[in-house]
Symmetry: C2
Subunit: 199 residues, 2 copies
Amino acid sequence: MPNQNTQQHKLRQQKLKQAVDARIDAAKQEKGLVLVITGNGKGKTTSGFGMVARAVGHQQQCGVAQFIKGTWDNGEKNLLEQLGVEFHVMATGFTWETQDKNADTLAAQEIWKQCQRMLQDSLLDVVLLDEITYMVTYGYIELEEIVAAIESRPAMQSVIITGRAAHRRLIEIADTVSEVRNVKHAFESGIKARKGIDW
Amino acid sequence: MPNQNTQQHKLRQQKLKQAVDARIDAAKQEKGLVLVITGNGKGKTTSGFGMVARAVGHQQQCGVAQFIKGTWDNGEKNLLEQLGVEFHVMATGFTWETQDKNADTLAAQEIWKQCQRMLQDSLLDVVLLDEITYMVTYGYIELEEIVAAIESRPAMQSVIITGRAAHRRLIEIADTVSEVRNVKHAFESGIKARKGIDW
């Protein structure tokens, strides 16, 4: 490798390090975060569970509510529940399987009560509200109830919201928002959903 | 709730269920997947680890190579290594910390050897190549070596690639590609990176 190239690389990396260090120094505020992972691509729920796994790896306490995936064999639940994560799963499963709005609303309200309790529990470092965005879209849970519960949570608690089409109010109250855009998906090419990857 | 509303909902959900079922029936091909999670937003690495956690929850065997995060206290490693996940972490840490291209190339090549072995190991159901995209960008690992290793892997093994600016060749060989777009990030508002969320 030519020396000039190495030297250029070193200078470039020094500049990058200075910029990153300056931003780390500037970021002083300690508080729990609200994260929204939305969009139509694969990776929203797994990202939420990746953060929960990470928090568990730091001996933090976590609570999870899963609003959509219910009745399947559930890899993340199998693993994390036995590690002490509090888990609530909406019993009815995919809402297009049930086709019953009244029953779905009742089931959503049942699990939402558990969420409200978790969002007041200062022993929980991280609360994951997996696919709760659909509950707002379908009108099963009041948007403003969710906003109020999140805004009055313990100051150091972080909350992760996943699901497509997050309401703009949820985006507004979030500290970090990522949109997962579908570039391509195996399912569209006729490849079966896969244990360990898709559920 | 008025009956008409309930009935409309039921019809809409039936139609949705028919569409979803038809796509599930059409998706017949069983094989390991290549997934790329790229883009500039938060959630790529956590999504990869969420899939690994999910797979571990199904008693699958997983291997992980982490190319960027190295020297920090590492929540995902703490958790998953003790659960039997094979873990390789590039020892030099963030590349803008080291500022030494030769040392970084050596460190990258070291861990890449482990990856090549994992990508030939039919006992591994899932292999996560976390932030390997940067190794291509910086020229530490040959793109075509990565492509060749992935394309000749065991047929049922799934591979997850994360990192910004995935090379278009990696996009081409992938079955599923998501781009995580940064909508907003707490760091930009001066909020400190948080244990359990950011590392």
